[in-house]
Amino acid sequence: MKAYGIRMKRIEVSENKRTWLSQTNLLPACRLFLGGIFIYASLDKIFKPGLFAEVVYNYQILPDVLVNLMALVLPWLELVLGLMLVAGFWLPGAVLLSTLLLLIFSGSLIFNMVRGININCGCFSTEPSTDPITWWTVMRDASFLIPAFYLLLANRTEKTAGE
């Protein structure tokens, strides 16, 4: 009888491990991580739109007329996406859009690295000369795509309320 009890316990543990890896914790952990990154990245830009407009301008990707609009809307988009990821609200849209944004960010960094434009990343801070772009910056931003892709793929099979 005693041996049977131990056996039962072992099964429970392994079952917990399985659920931990598959769904219950890893998905929210990725959401919280990615959401936290987006929220943190948005704050400095929201408070300093003028400086962030300079950052956007220096990337030399958008036409001049769109620079200020992008500098105003992008930080708020990051904040809204971050909050949605953390709260688990409108997840299909939030996950897909944040993945697209991360792809655009990484693409813009790579584009300017390749054509050799020496600019400030402006990824987490609008202060000039705090974060010049390097291949390390590219790696850092691209690494955020790992949890993003995981959410995108894992989200397919996640059971959602009402379905």
């Binding site: 003028g50 407009a53 300079e54 620079v67 609009l69 809307v73 988009l77 939030a94 897909l96």
Partner: protein
């Protein structure tokens, strides 16, 4: 069944993404309207404007605002002109930090200025860039709130504000 659910989710993303962008846009525009120094929706990023300063409009301060800060003694004025011009006359209480000697004089000139203290740089003439260059330099050196009073010395005198 699995594929049905997948298609269903992507379909929701199709309306959620425009909706998220619209929510962010509405928040951005309304907060920009409430801001004291709201950013124009279309900025002047032309070569001429960016020559004046990388962020000319953002750095500029109006004479009224500068005078208010002066009366409240809430800002430090920095004269970017040469020491000789400073000696001839300057805004009352202004510190002298000539742009051409900034490397040598920076530490002595800013020794008593806390980094969060608003600084207003000025020089003379509509096209004078010394104050802009100094302002950008001061900002790079860690002063958080640096403004430029364009054509400062002339405007200050014409407004009959106190001079030394």
């Amino acid at each position: 069944m699995e594929s049905f659910r997948l298609i269903h989710k992507w379909r929701r993303a199709l309306w959620q993404i425009p909706a998220i962008i619209m929510v962010a846009g509405a928040l951005a525009l309304s907060s920009n309207n409430l801001r004291k120094e709201s950013l124009p929706l279309v900025g002047d990023w032309s070569a001429a404007a960016s020559l004046t300063t990388v962020s000319g409009e953002y750095l500029d301060i109006s004479i009224d605002e500068a005078a208010r800060l002066f009366r409240e003694q809430a800002a430090v004025f920095m004269d970017a002109r040469s020491a000789a011009d400073y000696e001839k006359g300057h805004i009352q209480g202004a510190l002298s930090l000539p742009w051409q000697d900034v490397d040598r004089l920076f530490f002595s000139a800013t020794a008593g200025v806390p980094p969060d203290m608003p600084i207003i740089t000025y020089c003379d003439g509509e096209t004078c860039n010394l104050s802009h260059d100094l302002a950008i330099f001061l900002r790079d050196m860690g002063f958080e709130n640096v403004k430029v009073l364009v054509n400062g010395w002339t405007i200050w005198k014409n407004t009959n504000l106190p001079v030394d």
